[in-house]
Amino acid sequence: MYEAVIGLEVHVQLSTDSKIFSGSSTDFGGEPNTQASLIDLGMPGVLPVPNAKAFEMAVKFGLAIDAEIGQQSIFDRKNYFYPDLPKGYQISQFEKPIVGPGRVLISLEDGTEKTINVTRAHLEEDAGKSIHDAFDGMTGIDLNRAGTPLLEIVSEPELRSAKEAIAYLKVIHSIIRYLDISDGNMAEGSMRCDCNVSIRPRGSETLGTRTEIKNLNSFRFVEKAINTEINRQIEILEDGGRVIQETRLYDPDKDETRSMRSKEEANDYRYFPDPDLLPVVLDDNFISACRDALPELPEARKARYISEYGITGYDAGVLVANRDVADYFAEVANTSGEGKLAANWVMGSILAELNQTGGSITDFSVTAKQLSELIGRIKDNTLNSKTAKTVFEAMLAGDGEVDAIIEFKGLVQFTDTGTIEAFVDEVIAGNPEQVTNYRAASEDKQVKMLGFFVGQVMKRSQGRANPQAVNQILSAKLSG
């Protein structure tokens, strides 16, 4: 049996207004090359000047993962040729990164937790974009993205499966969203992931030869690419072959990875300190100001939600993973005063809906205030779980406010005994055979048979009878 050894390099675009070394805008989606200045174009005679905000964001990330902060950090040139990199080198950090060793905690499927060590995180500039298919024999270059600040976060090879890699990636995503240092939008490339994957016989201490899968831009592709690559490597070893160290690309259409040979030869980056940039020295005040500005992070919030709202660790973990979801839940729980119900509704109905539509909770059609009102109407017995669902769906469709929907659809729950008794009498009179069978049955069978009558009563009441009351009245009348 084999064991996978996986390390991730996560590139996060920092959400500064201007670029890391120039005053160009970092807005996404502008007309090509309208946000590319002389510095971004790599013109001779220009000098890069680093953006303080990028350092602030990197330091906050470092503090959030309990890392050593490089109070003196140095920029190096990483040399390679590609048309979307006009200078012929990328300004990056090699020997002295801004963030040193740190760690994050991931939750595994069996409920246990595992610490994953982060080797380092360094600041660098993003490259431009190449458009290959639009022009005959030519490649189009858009340099709007060139110079966007990136934080590259490198993990130790301590992940053992695609699932663990995803768990790690989600924790990183959650931290950068809580810190609000990036929008973390993988589809737009604000967060991208390179995976280093190797396998070895279980129990072995030596590392196998690794391959690197480049530029994965969704959680799902990361998971699929890693699994595909693990299987490819196992097949090679089983057939008596050897894995070659190389860079590979994942093809989601074919669900396979393929070699990217062009990268091999260029893999000699000849790093050296960039003479255009002096060492950046951050004093204690800068770092303590970053520390003071740290928000409550996911782990802390999870613990608080468990104790404040009486929800389970699992539920709290799901709810805090996304800061906006966590805020939404807290608003519903606080307004309605019902932590558990709020957790059930947010997880069961809202997250399920968002998963399906791929939408975001910040522009979800049911607001936290509306959901609180809905829960209020469950609490005061106006609605039961079935009619509440109907109201929720109506709100999803944009039919308006809770009370208006209840009135318009005539959903007020019957709680008065007289009305329910009338329904029960009708059902008993209309099903003499079932009643006889019920009365003849043993007690444990009666429990199961009661479901039929409850169903009939609910049907007659158009789902509006209070189920507890129906149960009580039915059992009483049937046994009498």
Binding site: S25, N33, M138, V280
Partner: protein, 95 residues
Amino acid sequence: MSLTSDEVKRVAKLARLGLTEAETTEILTHLNSIIGLVDQMQQIDTDGVAPLAHPLELRQTLRTDAVAETNQRDKFQANAPHVDAGLYLVPRVVE
């Protein structure tokens, strides 16, 4: 230490420089004399001297995060050999 002509060719290739045999030989001589100088510097005792990332012993000044550039695409692209739809066009790079 001295370089071989194969090493010069490799470095030239990484720098995307096309050298003739004669140029390779000439550059080999120049580079070797520079490496000779480096060899000489290596003999200086630097124990206890902290490595220096930059010859100026100064700290980098940081900039406030603010957009200060305006769109000057037309001006910049007037210099480019090929542009289309706002993009710089270069000989096709195939991945």
